[in-house]
Symmetry: C2
Subunit: 337 residues, 2 copies
């Protein structure tokens, strides 16, 4: 395919649990359009001209409150992946070592490799440490509090920066999410990355960074960030409108309920433990199952090998984000031997 | 200022010709909102989910037709500066030499330096050659046809890639714009960068690249581009709607007329030649004038030194984009000794 509109292309007859994509019915088409109207009314031409390098004040102020951080610790990005690309670029040189907490988000491995970093598992020494410690991708699990504290202590001791990918924090279904590494660290040795891709819409390409003010200054002073007046100004102002109007919390409550039902349907059909948040299950690969065999039976997933630096894994990742409960139950049936 | 909304902060009493920003009244607030409504009606949830890495088909197809290129030669970026950052990252290694055609866009110098490139003037040898050959920033002038042809021939001979920043092509006030280096090269040894920042709105952070299909494939396969499903999907679909509805050409006709009037007012008041397009005048610095002295007289500009690799220049850059004709006439009066 030379030209397409969407990343995901459905394959007839296959229930696809491979993609960490939102369920289409849960995207806020009407509320987002209403926020665009309100943003145009509030900001007028100011939403369309060159913005402020760190992101426009209305969104920065909301983010600062939401993340219990200072405004000078906040920077608006064009998504979490863009944030990782920016941060890795500033904190490392080609051929440095980046540590990753395996299994981990497979495309983060590619983003780090694009920076010509050498990847190593969590036991090594490196310049940065990438992790998704809360409702993680691909496991759905969260790092226990004691391990959070020891990781933060280790970063201070060894002098590396933890890049905490906190994309899934708001998608919590049971109880409260654990404290972030950012919060536990007091803002040192940790850069936290957040995203509106899972909570609002991936197509917006909008995310954010919490970091020390000195790193935020370096981000603002990148030539291409300064040249553009921030990286996604108009969308950021619409998001500020969406957030401060209450539409964000209302939408979040709606999708939390829906994704909780989807999680319950898949976990109960498979008879496995339920992750407390996020979009994923990480399961031992059923004996004798291959991806090709699964797809012949009308179900798909991502093999666990893609989430490991050395490409070896006995697991598979299932996403319950994209399909309604009844289809998840049927997908589970097709996965059983 | 720790938190702001816009890049430009007005200073009381100063008519500022320093910024290459649009005049607020010429930003398409209502037409863009209409395009957002139409895009939501046409694409629904598809505008909000993960898009296609090269940019969504409706915009790619329009761009291909508009730039007389094949769809596989087109890639949607988050602005021209982002395009330069991406292309420089793929075509060079740190410490390579980048040639620049001086004077040139000052923030491009910073973007290239952020890639740890060594900058040299056009006479040297390098891996890439950055130029704004059409209604250039900062001069407003265009490279003559014979020099275009010899630059393209030189790129093929010496094996470097020309990065043609074509941001100002559509802002033509007299006659037709000269053929692009991209067109003259037949698509080899040239990467063309375009932007909707000047033609529609900078706050959208939307631009594009014309490049060989092999380079477009490399851009699509960047981890962070693939991870995000393109770099500005929702805005790209709104732009496709804005473009294919005719609103783009209508808006362009309106702003061409307005910027032509602004150009005429400033050039006639200063009694200087009129550039055939773009937003800038490049003039010898009036004898004895300093920026500080000018600002005391209530007018500002950018000193020419910022557009040179070695920081030496006897010129100043004036932008006629941001102010209406009567204020430009008054600014010219304040510039005269």
């Amino acid at each position: 395919v030379t030209v397409a509109t969407l990343q995901f292309v459905p394959r007839p007859g296959i229930l696809d649990l491979g993609w960490g994509h939102p369920r289409p019915e849960l995207l806020p088409v009407e509320p987002w359009l209403a926020a665009q109207r309100a943003s145009a009314a509030t900001f007028g031409w100011q939403a369309l001209t060159y913005g402020y390098a760190a992101g426009p004040a209305p969104l920065i102020e909301w983010l600062a409150a939401r993340t219990a951080s200072a405004p000078e610790q906040c920077f608006v990005t064009a998504g979490a992946s863009h944030a990782l690309d920016l941060v890795a670029g500033l904190l490392t040189e080609p051929r440095d070592v980046a540590l990753v907490d395996e299994p981990t988000y497979h495309l983060a491995l590619r983003i780090l490799r694009d920076k010509q970093l050498r990847l190593a598992d969590a036991s090594g020494r490196g310049r940065l440490f990438y992790t998704v410690p809360t409702f993680g991708n691909p496991t759905g699990r969260s790092l226990p509090l004691a391990e959070r504290q020891s990781l933060v202590a280790r970063a201070k001791r060894e002098g590396f920066t933890i890049v905490e990918d906190d994309t899934y924090r708001e998608l919590v279904y049971d109880g409260a999410a654990p404290p972030s590494l950012w919060e536990l660290s007091g803002g040192e040795n940790v850069v936290r990355i957040g995203s509106f891709a899972k909570t609002v819409a991936p197509g917006l390409r909008l995310g954010w960074i919490n970091a020390a003010p000195s790193l935020v200054e370096r981000l603002k002073n990148l030539g291409y960030v300064d040249s553009g007046g921030g990286v996604n100004h108009a969308t950021a102002l619409t998001m500020a409108t969406f957030a401060t109007s209450g539409a964000y919390d209302e939408h979040l409550a709606r999708i939390r309920g829906a994704y909780r039902e989807q999680r319950d349907a898949l976990c109960e059909a498979l008879d496995v433990d339920k992750p407390a948040g996020g979009w994923f299950l990480w399961l031992p690969r059923p004996a004798g199952l291959t991806l090709a065999a699964a797809e012949r039976r009308g179900v798909s997933y991502v093999d666990g090998s893609r989430f490991q630096v050395d490409g070896r894994s006995g697991h598979i990742r299932l996403s319950f984000s994209m399909l309604p409960p009844d289809q998840l139950v049927e997908a589970a049936r097709r996965l059983r031997p």
